[in-house]
Symmetry: C2
Subunit: 227 residues, 2 copies
Amino acid sequence: MPSLIHFTLDPFSRRIRLALAEYRLPVELINEEPWNPSADVLELNPAGTLPIFLENATTAICGIEAIGEFLEETKSALTSLIPGTSFERAETRRLMGWFDGKFYAEVSEPVLTEKLIRRFLPAGQGGGGPDVARVRHAMSRLRWHLSYIGHLADRRPWLAGQYFSLADLAAAAHLSAIDYFGGIPWADYPAAESWYQRMKSRPSFRPLLADTVRGVRPAPHYADLDF
Amino acid sequence: MPSLIHFTLDPFSRRIRLALAEYRLPVELINEEPWNPSADVLELNPAGTLPIFLENATTAICGIEAIGEFLEETKSALTSLIPGTSFERAETRRLMGWFDGKFYAEVSEPVLTEKLIRRFLPAGQGGGGPDVARVRHAMSRLRWHLSYIGHLADRRPWLAGQYFSLADLAAAAHLSAIDYFGGIPWADYPAAESWYQRMKSRPSFRPLLADTVRGVRPAPHYADLDF
């Protein structure tokens, strides 16, 4: 069976777990803490990033774009997650780049670093309490992103257009990692909320909502399908 | 004719210019300064990133991964730049992710921000002289990347394996933007140097080496094919 080296709240790992479930490809999950990559992980992926998809014991695929495209090229017999014309595929990829570049830098990375990763780092390597101002700034940028998601969801059946795609999974993966800590102002962005409710109701989402991180409880409404 | 909104020393713009030349697709180039995106650019690409590929007057492709994959899907009749099996294609994409994520964050972004962009920004927005310590740190990270490029170039005909690919163009585009300012310790990394000499000698590279940025002279050896 293929396996995936991942971390529960890593948005990139979450996207690939969702994609694997949508492709109906069972995998063995192997947990890894991204703030302290093991020698095994660095041997497989010198960049040290997660997730790593192991097609078999000797073949590792690394890098979020590489894994997404590899799965689409080799596992999409039943379901395509980069569907449509070349223009439609470009829109899916543009939005993946948006969430992995802009949303990650402005929202996911600061929230995850401050609220989660600092708890596990030694004091000399940035460990300690969260930088509250950094979290506040990220949560204010989040509003702008929720408004953009709502803008797209208002005009299109799915974020990239007429088809459900990796763009929806990318966005939902990032948002779900933040949502673990609560504080997303869903009520102010009804179009984004209703799109996210559709995402959260998919069977592929179920396992992510059941996962927890040691020592960090999810926000009360994290796993609710009506939130 | 298609057009490309780009900035001369932007590594992402450079990669797509190189790819278009390798695909033998003539384009009209439209200059843009990325530190001050125009309303037109933000209308085409709300992320404000360059380059933007305009297939025609009404269709813009945005996002570096989206543009690369779009060109490969639609323009690769003569030359493929993501060639090979799905595993080989994954390696090309892993390395593109490496250069656009890790190399950009550690080397290109700090060098370009400090040595170039600060000159053009108003004082209140980060304009002024370079942060010399930040440049020094980036140039020390560059050594590690040159050693990784040499490691790959020593073992493979091209960076991603047996085929010339977008991974070579991604790496060369980032390096060439840094090389404009000089100071790359090529002599210490002969395998990387000899790979870069091969890249620089390609006809696709010629126009990039002739380009200059207003008010900033390139290092003396920037355009030499023997350096």
